[in-house]
Amino acid sequence: MKRRSFIKAAALGTAAAAVHWDGALFAQSDEKKSAENSSKPLDIVAIHGGTAAEMFEKGIAEMGGMGRFVKKGQTVVLKPNIGWDRTPDYGANTDPDLMGIVTKYCLDAGAKEVLCFDNTCGNDWENRYKVSGIKDAVEKNGGKMIPGQTESLFEEQVIPKGVKLKKAKVHKLVLSADVFINMPVLKNHSGTKITAALKNSMGCIWDRGFWHSNDLPQCIADFGTFWKTQLTILDAYRVMLENGPRGSDPKRAPVAKYQIISTDMVAADTAATQIFAQVARQHNMGKPYTTEEITYLALAEKAGVGTMDLTKLNMKRVAMA
């Protein structure tokens, strides 16, 4: 039942988005490599130069406003990265200001409720919701924090296209959401080198250990085939370059002021990897990984989750003054 309503809502949302598009605004800003086709809605926007909240406001306007994704009366689920008991300056979790403003935008777009959860890395999840500042930011803006670490909240699901991951216990909100917004943070990761949009799915499932012991990159790609997200808002305001994903020191997470808003997770991660490499070079810290080194990207592309070829997408780059 839930699933059916979800699919219906998703179909409705897409149709509505197409209809609504014509009236959308196009902010004129410095664009380049004009792959941008102004008659079609944007697939991906990369923003640089503001605070996380400012960049989001600019970027979502470019994407056609929150109304393109969130319709009246829908339930929106935000999935940030709240893995670690770290304050925002470590860059280990999604920026709380960004969480706050996205919550607000969703509600302003008419969402019935905005729910937010993450299966944190350690069972003091309440503490992590708090320390990251996300609980405060979301609740202040009218959203609700939902526990992400109660086993009864997870439902066993079959992953039809899974290569290694055939089954997974998935958080109920993943299944019941009308609009699912993936809100990862870009950072270094000791295992997968970089974590961003695709790897953020590990906070939606119960048994991460299985993934770790059964070809982690393949599992990430497998789950991508199952996971329906309408939007990815990738926070790279701070980029943790070293000692990720937990982070050892705020100095290793310099302020880089990037953000990517995309409908394609693989594309968002591909762009993010390049941003990571650039920031790493600029600060002479961490390793400038290539997209080939992030093995789950190619696997996800092969599985049809998205594309690594940014030129195929209707993309816009926005540099804020």
């Binding site: 350690g122 503490n127 109660t150 990761h189 295992g191 770790h212 059964n214 600029q282």
Partner: protein
Amino acid sequence: MRRVRIGFSLLVFLLLSAQFLDIFHRLPESWYALHPTQTQFIPSLLNFLGGGGVLAGAAFLTFTVTTFIFGRVYCSFFCPLGIGMDIVRWFAKFPARNRFLKKSALGRYCARALKLSWERAWNKLRIAAVAFAALLIAFGFTSLLGFLDPYSLFGKIFGLIVFPGLSLANNELSNFMIERGVYTVTAVNGDVRVSLALFGLALFILVGVSALSIWRGRIYCNTLCPVGGFLGWVARHSLFRLELIPESCGRCGLCERECKAQCIDAKNQKLDFSRCVLCFDCVRTCPRGGVQYVFHPPFASREKKAVSAGSTGAALSSLPAALPEAVQLLPGSMKRREFVRSVPAFAALLCTAAKLKEGQPLPAPTDSDVPYEILPDATPYWLRGERPDKRLTVPPGGVDIKNFFNKCTGCQLCVSTCPMQILKPSLTEWGLNGIMQPFMDFTKGYCVHECRACTLVCPVDALHPLSVEEKKVEKIGTAIFREDLCVVKTDETDCSACGEHCPVTAIEMLPYNVDKHLYIPHVHAEVCIGCGACEHVCPVLPHKALVVQGINVIKKAKVFEESMRLYQPAAAPVTAEPPPVVDGGDPFPF
């Protein structure tokens, strides 16, 4: 006075229970610092003997002194087990008291069954309990002392029954509501379950104590309880003692029936003050004010006192029978001498046991070609079915394994407090002598880097309070890595769950297979604090590739420095100057 006693004791009971009822771990740290357990007699005594100073021993000293003045103030006002027993009795008496049930068969039965009367003191048992407790303290068998000490018994009941029960009930409620889309009640952190055997033991204590209290009131306090025994001995010489005043006493026996310590002999107008728990029920019951405090000047000899008591009383003839058993136990009594003689023998027995407990040989079982690495200071406690080089760790703040064993009474306060619920009471994990003392169970979670809750709550200083900074480098063990078990080697896939969770960067990922972009963990042993994060998240089963090996003496870990890094990623890229971010330039690399 009775009302004051009831109100006050309920308050104390509630304050002492608060930590056990705090299933969401929301009590502030300032609460721990002023923790009500500091009012407890045995913990305070252990703290005092452990070198905690006069302040640590404040409760023990205060109660000894106040008992010498007024009698056993501790027993009815501060002892959680005693208060608990009173509460049980109060509930048991309910049918006899209730307006509607009073006349029923149940009401009449309860009234009859709960009626108490004067009983002789079992002084030999009392002295034995005190002596036994003293020996247990002297030889460091505090885990056994924890089965006599009323506070520790109370803690066992609350920590092993009430806390998990409440938590599980809450989780059920939470599930029920979440299924209906209400998220107001959240499940508690971690796995609160305790081993069935220990739950059974705690249940046995609960049922036993309740049954004793219904059967004969405060019988436990006046037989097995070492605190009751010791304070009773002090109360015998108190300056102010409750007595039946012969002038007003009509020997009606009302007070005797009410006395839960069964220390009033109304017929002979005697009140055995050494057994009196100072509940003041008798004072309130007597319609003629026949029970009152009488001043006894100190240093009066026994004979004189007997005379003075006789002068106030009429029935001098009843003295021999009425004087507490002490008279019969005066020097010269054969039984007492025998008892005294048996003490050294018993001490010798304990001494041997203590030696055995310390001298446990290191078991070195092996089921692999590669020898297991056992570091020189590893604790000797290993678990059946686990990797042989996995060793139990003393919780943070434990100083060393002896200090921890010799102080912890197993009151379960830290077990209930642990926000991750990884402290679990030992059944045999810490050996036979370590029963109920907590060990760290990394299958349930890991020790959070900045958390120090257990060290703050410990009433006996078995876990010494740590600051957050101290806790972050408190090295309780070392993670031991075995490459032959790691998925990076066995399956040639990425994992790095351990490196990802390590809070102190003790795990460095070294290149393993460059073509496949594989990295394998390496442990910097001197940096590792033994928090168990890597062991907890390691996905390899049944034996984890990383296990924590506890150490006997807790150390300060080194802080990771970049110079310790074994692998420097291909030095800074060749681009001599980093591409500058010029204003107006293109910030996008794609």
